[in-house]
Structures are given as structure tokens and as C-alpha cells.
Amino acid sequence: MKSLSEIETTVKRASRAAGYSWGIAEEVGKSIRLSELFGFPGIKHLNQYYQNKKKKNFDDIKLIDKINKSKGLSFCPITLGVNFIDQVKNIETLTKFSVEKLAYPLLLLPFLSRGSEIIGKKLLFSFDDSKFLLNFNVSISSNFWNKEIPVLANQVEISFLNNEDNFSNQDWKNLYKLAEDTFVEETDSLKEGAAGAGLTDND
């Protein structure tokens, strides 16, 4: 088994050799390491992408907009990923944005995961039938486990989710009531000696 450290170093060097700057190569190294750590085939897709990149041109999204339309070529997931990390604080106000024709969408996944941590919000990444929920760079939930991930996503949507509970108020109340069964009723004499006792509220 390759260690994550080996993965990061080799990806960084390979990315530089594929034509990215050292700074971008560092970002790709970190991201593919993360992808493999979460159990997604980052190395496999990066390898395919770099092989393809030698033969084919890809377009770059520089400034991310609400709708990012392709002019024919599919978009580079790495440039989009790095720019996403850089611009995430500006674009979270968009609530969601879409990308048409994204090459190797799996390669964007770890960048989105890192973005989720930067802004402290969960993100929903969906394309075709695939959905990935990115949880603050702590975990990734997906309906795509162990399936072949496509090398081209025709329509990608990334939504910034509000920080909300994913349970109902009633679920919480019921659980809280149960938790209260661990509390002990205090006597009056104990209340009199508790912190703040004896002071006036206006002192």
C-alpha cells in the first residue's frame, strides 16, 4: 500500500511535470491525498486526466460565476478546484453555481471538500445521477460508492448548504427529555449556596 505521504509527493511532482506551477502542484498533491484518504480513486482519475491532457485541450474557469458555460471544450477540474479554494469566500453568496462540461469531476471533489472547511458550510456536489455531500472536510457522503465515476460531467451543480440541523425539532425534544432523566432535583439549601447566590443582579 502506498502511504499518503508518497501519494502527495508523487502527485506534486507529476503535476509540475504536467505543466502546472509548483504552487498549483502543491494544491493538487494535498487534494489527491485527501481524495485517497476518503476512499475515492483520485490517483486513477488524475493519471487518466494527465494522459488525456497531452492530447486534448481543456478550458479554464478563472473567475467562477453562477453559471459557467463551456464554449465547446470541457473544463479543467484542477484550475476550477484551485480557483474554487481561492474564491470560495466570495462565491458562497451565490448559494449555488453550475458548470457545464467538467472533465474528470472526481478531481474537483477534494477541492470542494477543502472549501467546505474554509467557509464552515456543507456543500452538495451533484452531476448526472451522482451526489456527494461534503462535510467540512471531515467526511464525504455519496450515493456513488464503488461505482465507476464518469470522466465527463455534462451538468455540474454545487450548492452551499445552510448550517441547519438535519433532524426535526420533535426528534430533538424527545431526545432531550430522555437526557433530562440523568439530572437530579436540587434542594433549596443547595440552591442558596450555588454560584452567584447572595448577589443582587445590579451589583
Binding site: 500500500m1 502506498k2 502511504s3 499518503l4 505521504s5 508518497e6 511532482r13 502546472y20 506551477s21 509548483w22 504552487g23 498549483i24 502543491e26 494544491e27 494535498k30 478563472k62 473567475l63 484551485v82 480557483n83 479554494i85 481561492d86 474564491q87 469566500k89 466570495n90 477543502r114 474554509i118
Partner: protein, 553 residues
């Protein structure tokens, strides 16, 4: 009194960093301190009469066990090389997490001796190999087998029976990644498991030499005197492989240097020194003269430095004994100011290290702050603007911005990774090919380039916009925002200039390891000695913390 931390623009110059010495903060000393109450055992010692075979040593505390597995192999003299191109070694080692099963020992027997071309698993933590100092090893075997202790003059000249040529950890060749073990309390300090490996290898060398001597002449052989063992360490040959590490780990570098600087600041702020602390300091300074006079090298650059160091330490001792009054307030601050004025860089840093000896209560808490969660500082704060970045560069890289990189001399070298051994190398860009594959280690040049590019831009331009069209400088933008909060994270010198002395970079790192007796063999590699004078494993429970200054060699 508040003493300011020393200026990074002075301390982070290569000549100063290359004058650092081991101290109580050094990793091999903090390793011994951490593991002193662990149970040490030799679990397996299955060597043939010539000393070839397998051995296992362990440290155990509660449920945690670390085991060193040693494979000693027969090699021909013409196969023995300290260079990284070697493919065979006298012995190869790995530190295994837990108790190795028979299957582990067999699995590793096929991999560990192959080193870089072998594959380890997440159950192994560190990996190394070592070669005998044949001259010393054979002499010791010969002497012991004849019932005699070896010639101390010869041992003093060399200082070890074996020298390692690399110690790997942190995920190399399939070893466990640091994240798997980083929360273990006992390894809350850099390179602790690398230090454990070297320390246990040292014991293996003594056991092996005794074993061979005993087999050669069972009736009259004697064991190597423990006092002699204590004064032998493990040698190490180190090349440029180590140099990029300190550039590639800026927050870690900061935390090492900052710990040293905070220790010095706190010691200088002591108003009244206690008698026993004064005595210990003076004793260590005097005893340390032996470390300097027994420091052997044929390298002219180092010889000059040692000569100057010896002269200045003697001058300092004279000053302490004849002119200085420890009763005055803030005595260590006075001493430090005197050193700055009267002695060379090598001597200043030498005495700074010794100043820490009496003050374990200051040094000890700093040791746990010498690691770094580097991931936390990786993201660039892209919401900041060009004005912020320019100010950081002006404040934190002022000397670097003065370098003229249009001059050939300032731009003469380039760092690259050798295709043959995947190791870093340094070459002349005007004489060798490959500069187009340069590694991102020319930080000073790229910082200057970044600054020049920023000058023509609007101050309020956001960094995320700047990066869109300037991705070639992204690696230094990241570093600039790191140095803003980590003042000692950057070497304040040109690492590609004509006059760069790469061994300064090696010495910095090796001093934090706790190495002694730097012996440069060129400007690109050196030999050192580790654990010379250190207690033996069975003495760890009660040992003298100032053992470094009590070696007789």
C-alpha cells in the same frame, strides 16, 4: 525586564544557522528523557558466529511496544559504500509498531535490506541501514577476543562502530504516515521514532561486536567495557537530501527555532541566578572543551571554525573566571550581550546551547511545541489584498529584497532531484543542464520576483484575483502568509547564490537532532556522531542529563 526575541534577519542567516549546536532541546536528548522510564528488552538475538542474522530490541510501557528489527548481512568490502547509490549494507533496520510476528520478521527480511527499493507497511515506523567502520569494528573484535579492551585513541578518532547513511520515516517507502501515530503522547516531539531507531541500533552494534569476539575465542574473550560503550555513538553520513527539508517545512522550522529563541529569552530574563545553576553552567562550559578538542575533521572550513570556537570559548571562560560577577542582576543577559560583542557566531550559539543546561523547567515545556500541524497553515488567505502582501514582504524579507538576482552570482545554482536516486542535488545553472526542472527551493529569488510584480498592481487587488494570472508565484505567496505568523519559518539568505554553503543547512537540522562533531567531507556532505556519551539502555532509569559534556573522547 523584557528581553526581545532575537531578530530573524540575523538568526535565520545561513552562516548563523550553520553555527548551531545541540542542546537540551535536541531530539535525541528529548527522546531519552521521554523513554527513560520505559522497559527496555533484547527480545531476539539470533546471530551466527560471524555476527550475521536477526535481532529484535524493544521499548515497552503499558500496552505500547516499539520493536527494532535488525538484519545483519554479509557483504564484500567492495560493496560497502556510504553513498546513497549503495545497494547493500552491513545491517538494515526497521522500527516496528508493536511486537513483530514471525511472519512480520520473514516479510521484512525480504524488504528491509533492500531499503529504498523494498516495500514497508503501515506497521513499520522508521527504516535505516548502516555500515561498519571496518577499521574500528575489526580492531574491537580482535582486542576483545584476545581478552583486551580496544585502543582508546583509535576509538576516540572515529567515535562509533557503525554509521548510518539514511534514516527514513513519515510514510517513505510505505512506512506508516505520521497521521496514524501523531496523537501518541510519547512521540509528541519531532523525529522521536527516528531517534529511537538510532539509539537501539547503537546497542545492537555493541551486542554484535561482543558476540563475534566471544565466538572467535570463547575462552579468553571479554566484553566491551560499558564505559567505552557509553563513549561510542552511531556515526552518520549526511548529504544534500536533508537540505530541502528545512525549506519545505516552514512552520516546523519556525517551531524548532522559536523554541530555542524563547528558551534563550527566558534565561536572559532571569534576574538572580541560583548558585547551583551557575555552577552547572560553568561546569558544562569547561567540560565542553573536551568536545571541541576531540572534534576531528580534515575539512579546512570546519577546522577554521573549530579553531575560532576553541579560542573564543577559552576567552569566555577567562571572562567568566576573572571579570564576570554572577551576583549582578540578569547575569545571563549580561553574558549574552558580551558574547555578541566579543565572540564569533559559532561561539555565541555554542554558549546559548549550554545556557539551557541548568534550566530544564524552561526548556522542557518548549519541547512539546516543536512539532507542527502543517496542514492547518496550508491554505492561502485569498481574501487579503496586495497591500497586505507587500507589507509582509517588506517587513519579513527586507534583506532578501536587497539581493540583485540579475547578477549571475546571485543566480548561479539550482536545486534538482536526481533521476538516478531521487535525491536532491545542487548544480551550476550555467554549466549543467536541467535548470528547467528546478525545484521550488529558490525562495529568495521568487520572493523578490513576487515583490516586483506586486509593485505595479493596485493595493486593493485581492489575492484571489492576483493568483488567477500569477500562479507561477503561488508557492511563495503561501510562504509569505506563513511567515507573517511564523517569524522563524524562512532562511533569510539566498539558497542559489554562488557562495552558498549547503552544509550550513545540514548542520542546522543535525544540531536539532543532537549531532556532535560535524565533519564536513565537502561542501555538500558531512559525517556526524549521535548518542556519543549517552547512557546505555539499561542505565536510562537514572542518568546524568548533562552526559553530552561528560564524554572522555
Amino acid at each position: 525586564m523584557n528581553v526581545e526575541l532575537r531578530d530573524p534577519n540575523i538568526i535565520m542567516k545561513l552562516s548563523r544557522l550553520g553555527s548551531f549546536h545541540q542542546s537540551r532541546l535536541s531530539f535525541l536528548r528529548s527522546f531519552l528523557n521521554e523513554f527513560k522510564d520505559w522497559d527496555y528488552r533484547r527480545d531476539l538475538f539470533d546471530l551466527d558466529k560471524d555476527g550475521f542474522g536477526t535481532a529484535v530490541y524493544s521499548f515497552k510501557k503499558k500496552d505500547r511496544i516499539y520493536s527494532l528489527i535488525c538484519y545483519a548481512n554479509k557483504i564484500n568490502d567492495d560493496e560497502r559504500s556510504d553513498r546513497v547509490i549503495a545497494t547493500k549494507w552491513d545491517a538494515a533496520f526497521t522500527l516496528h509498531d508493536g511486537v513483530p510476528l514471525k511472519e512480520d520478521i520473514e516479510r521484512l527480511r525480504n524488504e528491509v535490506p533492500k531499503q529504498e527499493v523494498g516495500r514497508l507497511s503501515y506497521k513499520e515506523l522508521t527504516l535505516s541501514r548502516a555500515n561498519k567502520s571496518v577499521r574500528v569494528f575489526d580492531h574491537v573484535v580482535e582486542s576483545l577476543s584476545n581478552g583486551l579492551q580496544p585502543n582508546l585513541d583509535l576509538l576516540e578518532k572515529v567515535g562509533y562502530l557503525y554509521r548510518t547513511t539514511a534514516v527514513y520515516g513519515s510514510g517513505k517507502f510505505g512506512l506508516a504516515d505520521r497521521f496514524r501515530i501523531k496523537n501518541r503522547e510519547e512521540i509528541n516531539g519531532p523525529f522521536r521514532l527516528e531517534m529511537m531507531l538510532v539509539y537501539l541500533v547503537r546497542q545492537f552494534t555493541f551486542d554484535q561486536v561482543n558476540h563475534v569476539a566471544k565466538n572467535r575465542n570463547p575462552k579468553s574473550a571479554v566484553k566491551l567495557d560499558p564505559k567505552i560503550c557509553r563513549n561510542l555513538g552511531i556515526g552518520n553520513s549526511t548529504g544534500l537530501g536533508m537540505a530541502p527539508f528545512i525549506v519545505n517545512h516552514p512552520t516546523l522550522l519556525n517551531n524548532w527555532i522559536l523554541s530555542r529563541e524563547v528558551a534563550l529569552k527566558k534565561i536572559r530574563e532571569i534576574k538572580i541566578a541560583e548558585t547551583q545553576d551557575i555552577s552547572l553552567f560553568q561546569e558544562c562550559v569547561k567540560n565542553s572543551l573536551k568536545n571541541i578538542t576531540s572534534w576531528n575533521t580534515e575539512n579546512e572550513y570546519q577546522l577554521k571554525k573549530i579553531k575560532l570556537l576553541l579560542k573564543d570559548v577559552r576567552k569566555f571562560i577567562h571572562f567568566l573566571e576573572n571579570e564576570f560577577d554572577f551576583k549582578k542582576d540578569y547575569p545571563f543577559n549580561e553574558i549574552y550581550l558580551w558574547l555578541e560583542k566579543e565572540t564569533c557566531e559559532e561561539c555565541i550559539e555554542y554558549i546559548v546551547s549550554i545556557m539551557m543546561e541548568p534550566f530544564g523547567e524552561i526548556v522542557q515545556p518548549l519541547i512539546s511545541q516543536m512539532s507542527s500541524e502543517e496542514e492547518k497553515y496550508f491554505n492561502i488567505p485569498t481574501e487579503r489584498n496586495v497591500e497586505d502582501l507587500k507589507k509582509i514582504l517588506e517587513n519579513k524579507y527586507s534583506d532578501i529584497l536587497k539581493i540583485d538576482f540579475n547578477k549571475k552570482d546571485s543566480n548561479q545554482k539550482f536545486w534538482f532531484i536526481s533521476k538516478n536516486k531521487e535525491e536532491p542535488r545542487l548544480a551550476n545553472r550555467f554549466e549543467e543542464s536541467g535548470a528547467d526542472l528546478e525545484q521550488p527551493l529558490a525562495i529568495a529569488r521568487d520572493i523578490k520576483k513576487l515583490y516586483e510584480r506586486l509593485l505595479s498592481l493596485k493595493n486593493n487587488l485581492k489575492i484571489n484575483q492576483f493568483l488567477i494570472d500569477n500562479s507561477d508565484l503561488r508557492h511563495v505567496v503561501r510562504r509569505a502568509f506563513i511567515i507573517e505568523n511564523f517569524p522563524y519559518s524562512e532562511i533569510q539568505d539566498n539558497t542559489i547564490g554562488e557562495n552558498i554553503v549547503p552544509i550550513d543547512m545540514l548542520r542546522l537540522k543535525l544540531s536539532f537532532f543532537g549531532a556532535l562533531k560535524f565533519d564536513p567531507r565537502s561542501d555538500k556532505w558531512l559525517r556526524i556522531c549521535m548518542f556519543q556519551g549517552a547512557p546505555l539502555p539499561n542505565e536510562l532509569k537514572d542518568y546524568d542529563e548533562q552526559w553530552v559534556y561528560k564524554t572522555f573522547s
